[in-house]
Amino acid sequence: MKIADTAHNEGPSAFAQAAELELRKVSKRYPGQREPAIRELSLTVPAGEVCVLVGPSGSGKTTAMRLINRMIPITSGDILLGGRSVLEREPRQLRREIGYVIQQVGLFPHLSVGENIATVPRLLGWPKERIAARVHELLELIGLDPQEMNGRYPAQLSGGQRQRVGVARALAADPPLMLMDEPFGAIDPINRARLQDEFLGLQEKVKKTVVFVTHDIDEAIKMGDRIAILREGGVLAQYDTPREILTHPADEFVARFVGADRGLKRLALTKVAELKLAEPNGSRPDPGADVVRRVSPETSVRDALSLMLTEGGEPLTVVDADGRVEGLLTLGVIEQLLSDEAEEPAPDAAQPQPERTR
């Protein structure tokens, strides 16, 4: 059993192998309703990737997520987790192997932070010492001081801390899959951005397969390795990487859904370091007055462009952490990026066309 495999080695190495998730023509029709809530949804999430389900309300994204851990019964089709149908599994056993995070967090108010995190390991009957070690490890992983936070009750935490504890509870038993339903939806924008960054950092370490539901396309672009855009009636409109969706939206609906500013959103996906910069005028940045016109290579192209526009369209000097000039960022450089991306073939039009010639 997978659970037993991780029994002896605590620490980052203890994380169970993430599993591939495959939805095969999954449909959900509620009794007494003519139209299905989910219509023949098929998609595969490779192990260790974040798949964001996004769409307007009524698109069935939360329904789709809850079909996976069988909190909503499937009408037809199949869902495979690690190659094995979830329909063969006892639902409660299945859920204990799938991390579950919801917007309102749903921490148990009468249990301490430590006891909340220990919920699934306890249901699985882990020995006490192993549970204690795991709770300690997870508190450190989410950046909460174990000594201080272990005994607190949820009512004594801030919204952000509660959400972190919710994620830790979902991670407690090393699930190969995590389901997250608008996990940061109830958090103010500044803390939301921080929690998103934290989660991405965490995901770097734990490498879970994640199904992440949101209605916010910007969050989808930021969090997703792949994005599944659903339209009303639970129809999959497009399933692709964020870059592909922004560059080659499959249809009108997707183009409208990602927004008129999709060009700018695309720029947000690229870092200045990835651009072919123009030659600098000198080897050292102009001292003093030019300080505002410098950017680090780690800045997103979108933010750099914004700065450039603020500075009247003047080129920016790209300076690395050691103060070395890497090049000049001009409007021309950004134009080049956009025209390069526009000419990349869309994946469904991916005919054998290895070398593009101009």
Binding site: V105, L107, F108, H110, R152, L179
Partner: protein, 241 residues
């Protein structure tokens, strides 16, 4: 009896004439001498019996009400008939209920307890059910999502979170039953109702009436206080905010 007749009959202190002080002979408000002589033979046994009567009634009532509330929590249609029946029981005048029970059940502890238990049901049922239903939806969703069974959710999540409401119901029930148990003497001559009845019937003899009455009130307040303390100990999370 009118006061005039009483006066003509003279002091009416039964059984203790030989030891009676002048306080008792003149039936003054409160005679400490009577208390000290009668604590052992009369008051303490009555108080002990009273505690047992009330404890047994609340305990049995709690078990029944808990079962009914858990069932009504799972099957919502059970709430109406249960509420109806327990409400009817609750509205029957206590004396009438004792009389009703006396014929089939007899003048014994069973009549007493059946009546007392029936008065706890409505209060406890309603409070337990309200407590179970007040558990936030997101908490229940999380419980299901982490793979708890219905029984695990009930025992580990719903009942602990319903504790404040349950204790609130217990407090009302306990105070009600301690008061009500003073008329149990009608079918079963135990409890603080016995000295109260004696004091009323024979005089009234003020000292005995006051002593037994104060014991009943004190017992109710003490039980209420103990429940408050118990709740604070059982729900440390409720104060954390």
């Amino acid at each position: 009896m009118t006061p005039a007749v009483l006066a003509a009959a003279g002091p009416v202190i039964p059984n203790f004439a030989a030891q009676s002080s002048s306080c008792e002979i003149h039936n003054r408000l409160f005679c400490t001498g009577w208390i000290s002589r009668n604590w052992g033979p009369v008051l303490w046994p009555a108080l002990r019996e009273h505690i047992v009567l009330a404890l047994v009634a609340v305990a049995i009532g709690f078990v029944i009400a808990m079962a009914l509330a858990v069932a009504a929590h799972r099957f919502a249609w059970l709430e109406r008939p249960t509420t109806l029946v327990t409400t009817i029981l609750y509205t029957i005048p206590a004396l009438a209920l004792f009389e009703l029970l006396a014929a089939p059940v007899g003048l014994n502890v069973f009549s007493a307890e059946i009546a007392l238990v029936s008065y706890t049901l409505l209060i406890l049922f309603r409070n337990i059910l309200a407590g179970l239903r007040a558990v936030p939806a997101d908490v229940l969703d999380a419980a299901e999502g982490v793979g708890m069974s219905q029984t695990q959710t009930l025992l580990r999540v719903e009942l602990p979170l319903a504790l404040p409401a349950i204790v609130a119901g217990l407090r009302i029930a306990v105070v009600t039953i301690i008061a009500l148990a003073t008329i149990v003497y009608v079918v079963y001559d135990r409890g603080l109702g016995v000295p109260i009845h004696t004091a009323l019937g024979e005089g009234p003899f003020k000292t005995e009436l006051i002593a037994a009455g104060v014991l009943a009130i004190g017992l109710a307040l003490l039980a209420d206080g103990l429940l408050v303390i118990a709740q604070r100990l059982l729900t440390p999370w409720a104060r954390a905010s």
